[in-house]
Symmetry: C2
Subunit: 482 residues, 2 copies
């Protein structure tokens, strides 16, 4: 259980520093801030062998052994050669969980490798759970645990800018083998408005790995979607068994890098990962109900869809748009990705024609799937058509491509779409092209209503495909287990 | 020649209105603004059959025939049934160029179809060049011609937001069969900071089509890259012949929608386009040196790269990064897209090792391609390594994945990269992940230096592939023609 990492009642920063910019200072600074703001509610201790003067107002000790209680979590940032001893002290003190941020172990070879072996030996002797070494650690937005040491702000041409922002709290968990990529992902999530439940980077993973992480996240009530960036998966069989079980309840999305021979070679220099045969990974993921994505953009597009919308119960989808061109592109992408354009029932078509006769849908609109309401569309045309196709039993999900540029579309549309789609249990994804203020705000309005909104038709279709794949996989996993 | 559309010395808006929000008002308003700001320097006339009172300060006439000179361009926005007569008047007046914005022709069938036939007959009789009908027309940022009628601002939850922005002036031309998609593209270009040279949407294209557009853009000194969104290409043979010739000088990038059977069916409802066999299109594009892209994001990512960087002379590229994970992903994408990771020469490797020995490159860096400078990288490590690999004859282009999050990377890097890469004639594309202020500004710094910068590794690799493809195609077209 990793509870002690994410919800500790007390934390000791071992190797705390008085010098701004140093890792041992930056980590403590973030934790102090989180305690000041009330997010982190536990005790905080600093350990610095040279002085017991308070750092940042935090009680400081020369050794872990002098702390008046055994902290639930130790964050170790001492130089690599001192790390085994620091962990030994933690063990003696009765500390059960340690994040070892320090680098200079197996990843540098030679002396580093033997240090890592010593560290592992200490860990085993005391039964301490260890995340790392050589990692950026963990973030739990709801409890204020945050071990990221990268500068939150940086200078750029004389001005100071936010450089490593944290996403807002939410329901998406991210587990990553690469620390730098993990930090970059947090920056991306922040901008995309995707909320984070838990973040974990485990670096050289001498102990805690993907399997432990998924086990923890399975039971974490805040996590609805589990994202994994991996270059290798070591306990493959166990991982797949567990994934199969977890995917019945929560979607697992994997970005597996090192999928080509060039990538695999690069991965082996990066994390000494044995990437393994990609064909085997692919088949295994599919069998375990894991949704595989191919790049970073898709990882988060899919995460957003799975966090906001129910999975689809079948592969037939409808496209509803006010822009013929984006409708054609989405139809192309739908077929290219192996989804199907639903054929509307005769009743649906007849009722759509009724709406056209009563001028709710413009006379020049095209009523077969994709429905092109044209630039003469109004909010009413969208809502009228959407309600009818949601009622059609052949439709399992709807992709709404709503270009805001047309005169008859207003900012009421997102709310009205959310209202009319309630109760059908069919997923909706939205799209509006553009970077104008209006486009940005319009997409935000959709997301405020729980409808993921994308800036390009193809991305909306990919998001819908994930909802379809997960829906079908989940159904089959549940059937097999019952 | 389409010069009269893009550089007219005088424009008449036929069907001008006094009512804000009406198409005949909005178009006149934009032109008046552009004349006021000094971008449009020609004369402006309004035609309104009901009153010759000035509209927006523009001299207004009851008929085109009463205007004191034959305007070089007429923009016709009268209701469809009155359009043939309006064009007839233009012909009598000696007007040679007309944009017919009005809809209600072939796209609605029936009576509309016969109106379109009449319009075409008038056009032929007088030899008037016509863009449209049923289109959004043209934009020429350098001369202030702009016939877009969509509301520039729209209300959203009580606030007024920019809704249909115009991109800054630049070197990318966009030709589009779909008006709504075109407007959405302008919105996207605005946000991406991609500069526009000319915009043209030709709707039902009774006269001006892709061929005319490419002929004009070939000789337009402002246009460096030609983008085309097409659902069908009617004069296929002529188009390909011309493209083959133009592509020797300027890259042509095509997003061909209706590539699947679902998309083709949607296209036929949208613009009555016969999409044709996609395999044939694909082969023909390749032979003509046309760069084909598969979605909107790629269209503009590629446009940016071609506008900013020279094409690559070969398919071997290098990847240089401070983030191992993004390096692995980029290596994957490189191989998946058919590019090759260059093998460095023994001299290059030896000199890289020298830099490592002198601590310019961190000791834990990996020096084979992709070069992973790791999170200990500094600006100096990037510059030192980049200079060496640019000198390597096996390297034809460099993908720089510079995660700004690492402490040693500063805002000086983009400028230094631009400086060190000057004179090699080898393309550079950059990438930094994130939406933090710093990430956004950091990418802008690269682009200010003429280096396109992307937010994801895969997009940077796709951009480089376009530079490679265009370089190879251009070379082969030149060889065949000499």
């Amino acid at each position: 259980m990793l509870k002690g990492f994410f919800e500790p009642s007390s934390i000791a920063v071992v190797g705390a520093s008085r010098t701004p910019g140093k890792i041992g200072y930056e980590i403590l600074r973030v934790l102090v801030e989180n305690r000041r703001s009330g997010v982190y509610r536990g005790n905080l201790y600093a350990v610095n062998p040279r002085s017991d003067e308070m750092i940042l107002g935090v009680p400081t000790y020369r050794s872990v052994l002098e702390i008046p209680e055994p902290p639930e979590l130790a964050v170790i940032v001492t130089p690599a050669p001192q790390t085994p001893q620091a962990l030994e002290d933690c063990g003696k003190k009765g500390i059960r969980n340690a994040v070892v941020i320090s680098g200079g172990f197996a990843e540098v070879g030679g002396e580093g490798l033997s240090l890592q072996i010593r560290l592992d030996e200490v860990r085993r002797r005391y039964g301490i759970r260890v995340i790392g070494p050589n990692c950026v650690g963990v973030i739990s937005p709801s409890t204020g645990v945050d071990t990221l040491f990268l500068p939150v702000e940086k200078e750029l041409e004389g001005a100071t800018y936010i450089s490593s922002p944290r996403p807002k709290p939410g329901s998406v968990a991210l587990s990553t083998q690469s620390g730098a990529f993990g930090v970059a992902c947090l920056d991306y999530m922040y901008g995309e408005g995707i909320g984070l439940s838990k973040f974990i980077s485990y670096g050289n993973k001498i102990d805690v790995d993907e399997v432990d992480v998924i086990e923890y996240l399975r039971d974490d009530p805040q996590t609805k979607v589990i994202l994994i960036y991996a270059e290798s998966i070591d306990r493959g069989r166990k991982f797949l068994e567990l994934a199969r079980e977890v995917a019945r309840e929560k979607p697992i999305v994997v970005l597996k890098a090192g999928r080509t021979s060039a990538g695999a070679k690069a991965a082996s220099s990066h994390t000494a990962a044995i990437a393994g045969s990609d064909v085997i990974y692919d088949a295994a993921f599919k069998q375990a109900g894991i949704i595989r994505v191919w790049d970073m953009e898709e990882l988060f597009d899919v995460a957003k869809a799975l966090a906001m919308q129910p999975p689809a119960e079948g592969e037939n989808v409808a496209i509803l748009t006010d822009g013929g061109g984006v409708g054609v592109m989405a139809a192309d992408e739908t077929e290219a990705l192996g989804l199907k354009l639903a054929e509307f029932s005769p009743q649906t078509l007849e009722r759509l024609r009724d709406l056209q006769r009563s001028d709710v849908i413009p006379p020049i609109a095209s009523l077969t799937n994709p429905i092109d309401l044209t630039g003469s569309a109004t909010d009413d045309s969208f809502i009228g058509a959407l309600e009818l196709i949601l009622q059609d039993p052949n439709v399992f999900g709807v992709i709404v491509l709503a270009l805001h540029h047309v005169p008859g579309v207003t900012s009421e549309l997102p709310k009205r779409i959310a209202e009319v789609s309630r109760g059908y249990g069919k997923p909706i994804v939205a799209m509006d092209v553009g970077s104008s203020q209006y486009a940005v705000e319009f997409r935000k309005l959709f997301e405020r209503e729980g409808i993921p909104a994308y800036p390009e038709p193809e991305r909306a279709v990919k998001a819908m495909r994930a909802l379809v794949r997960y829906g079908i996989a989940r159904k089959s996993l549940k059937e097999r287990s019952s």
